[in-house]
């Protein structure tokens, strides 16, 4: 099946579909030989930066601090690590041991323990040091003053995201997403309804849009000013990774055999517009990460390739050669000078530009 992607504001199918012309580039310029290789020794499920030091989140138990002058492995969970988030100074992780743990460059501490030892499988960090997590249907948030608030969703919480401004949390669940203002006592959380199972959730940087990934191979979005729906569909698989490019111009997404970038630069978002489709491959895009300063997006593929792609003209630079090991984590440092990545098989690397 070829790509049939379009942004849509209704449930009807339109006819203005794009034909994709495959990229015939054979020899890519490569920076792969400038990568500092790191043997993570376990499946890499996340990557974050403390300044210039990449920190890899491993599938089981540990974080791997990969400073240039030496690596340090720190066991923090008693079991699998299911979710992680980082605000530049600390990494918060949720595990199948029912623990929520915060780790900074020096130490780690338990922030919360689920009383029934249920999996803590969603975490998010907000402005002003707020942290949110969930186990089953219940989402919790601890604000900067340490106050704890909880919200029970109608079904299992599948995604959490803070708005960039104000103390507002989006919770993805079955049949929609809920906007929750934890400090507005008595205010009813606002339910955004759309049929189906919503998994990941993200606010646009300007706070005007909310987008979810769905169990179906599609995204759903809402314009928050008026609740206008946005359907983004046509993927070949469930979208498991998404993130904004610089200034929130595009929402970069995995789930297809090229990077799909939905335009959010106008007031209507991607409605009635075509996405940009870049860096076509035989393999599916597994993870994406927008560069923090430049209109560039990095993508990790199911065949192990990591590519840097310039959004304006689609120019590609290779950062990791395909070797059949699916890329499972990808992240930029805040300055955009370093890109770190890891695979399901446990090989990792850091590219300094």
């Amino acid at each position: 099946m070829g790509p049939r992607l379009r942004g849509d504001d209704s449930k009807t199918n339109g006819n203005d579909e794009t034909e994709y012309v495959p990229d015939t580039t054979t020899q890519l310029p490569s920076l792969a030989d400038r990568v500092r290789p790191i043997d993570a020794g376990a499946s890499v499920v996340g990557v974050h930066f403390f300044g210039a030091m990449p920190v890899f989140v491993l599938g089981e138990e540990a974080l791997l601090f990969a400073a240039k002058d030496g690596e340090r492995r720190v066991a923090i969970h008693d079991g699998g690590i299911l979710a992680s988030a980082c605000d530049g100074t600390r990494i918060v992780t949720g595990g199948d041991d029912g623990k929520l743990i915060a780790t900074d460059a020096e130490a780690h501490q338990v922030l919360a323990t689920d009383d029934k030892k249920r999996w803590i499988d969603q975490v998010a960090l907000g402005p002003d040091g707020a942290v949110a997590w969930s186990a089953g249907k219940v989402a919790h948030v601890r604000g900067k003053k340490g106050e704890l608030r909880s919200f029970e969703a109608p079904s299992t919480v599948a995604g959490l995201a803070f708005a960039s401004k104000g103390f507002r949390l989006a919770i993805a669940h079955y049949n929609g997403a809920t906007l929750w203002f934890p400090n507005a006592a008595g205010a009813k959380p606002q339910m955004l309804e759309w049929k189906g199972s919503h998994l990941g959730v993200i606010f646009s940087p300007d706070g005007k849009f909310l987008v979810t990934t769905m169990q179906e191979s599609a995204l759903h979005g809402w314009r928050l000013s008026d609740g206008q729906h946005m359907r983004m569909s046509g993927y070949s698989a469930r979208v498991r990774s998404f993130g904004w490019t610089v200034d929130g111009v595009f929402l970069a997404t995995s789930g297809s055999e090229q990077i799909i970038l939905w335009p959010f630069d106008g007031k209507d978002g991607p409605m009635r517009r075509q996405p940009k489709m870049l860096a076509q491959s035989e393999a599916r895009v597994a993870v994406v990460a927008g560069h923090p300063r430049q209109p560039v997006v990095a993508a990790g593929y199911a065949d192990g390739a990591v590519l840097l792609v310039r959004i304006d003209d689609g120019a590609i630079i290779e950062a990791r050669k395909a070797d059949g090991q699916p890329v499972s984590a990808l992240g930029w440092d805040a300055s955009g000078q370093m890109l770190a990545f890891g695979t399901e098989a446990g090989s990792a690397g850091v590219l300094t530009l």
Binding site: G80, T156, S197, R284, D303, G324
Partner: protein, 348 residues
Amino acid sequence: MTTPSAPAKIPVTVLTGYLGAGKTTLLNRILSEPHGKKYAVIVNEFGEIGIDNELIVNADEEVFEMNNGCICCTVRGDLVRIIDGLMRRKGRFDAIIVETTGLADPAPVAQTFFMDEQVGSRTKLDAVVTVADAMWLKDRLKDAPEAKNQIAFADVILINKTDLVSPDALAELEARIRGINPYARLHRTERAKVALDEVLGRNAFDLDRILDLEPAFLTADEEHEHDHHHDHDHGHDHHHHGNGLKHYHDEDMQSVALRSDKPLDPDKFFPWVQDLVATEGKDILRCKGILSFKDDPERFVFQGVHMILDGDHQRAWKDGEKRESRAVFIGRHLPEEKIRQGFESCVA
């Protein structure tokens, strides 16, 4: 996908059975016997009996409709998440066992493996194993549609607690089960005692393993004598399958077995079967078949769950092998004549 060294998929066994039939007993037996294998176990929230296993996960049995216009396409949302999470720890276990609640419909569990690409690429459904209570199943078949679904859906059925019923009652129950699902492997057990290779590693959902669509009660390697007790007066018509054997007819759940020794036309068969599951898929619980297409040197196999169909060429027909097409549909209120005529119209 271009992954040349794709890792082996983790097999998943689904344990179903009405309340109190003995699922947990079977589960504990699987976990405690010395087989050297490690299992990740997904149990429902209400399981209260202690299970001693390192990797055990509580599930919430959240059945989610897919927003794709297909009314019976449901998946277990919790399973999608749990399997995602478990696969981070692959290497720690050899197989996954999913225990469902007594009231669960097995279809959403099975459909999860076909509908979710991520789940389906890492794990494979091995078999649906249903534990039935020898004493009470007969009543549950009358008053609990879930119990009937679980029997109809099964690849392996354990008739448990056989020590509590008479041989006659047992034989009658077996005949009733056969009336719903003649294709499952049947085992009589006490305290769910069964050789584990009879319930695990069955590959029942593997297209390559649709080897023999003969009803299981006709095969020689069953461990029980099955005298066919059809002499009871139960007020229903007996059905005559191709082989002339009769069995109980269940009022609303049947199987329709089809057979043709004339080659089929794929350009007729595929539109027919796709239309059939699109219109009747709500009522078709399971289907499978081996097909001989005209001018095609290979056997084509297919199977389905409700509206989802999966099929592929399996292997070349062997020299001297009888090239015949066989298919079976198990479901509720199936329009048998319509299905038979439709199948026959697919002859090339």
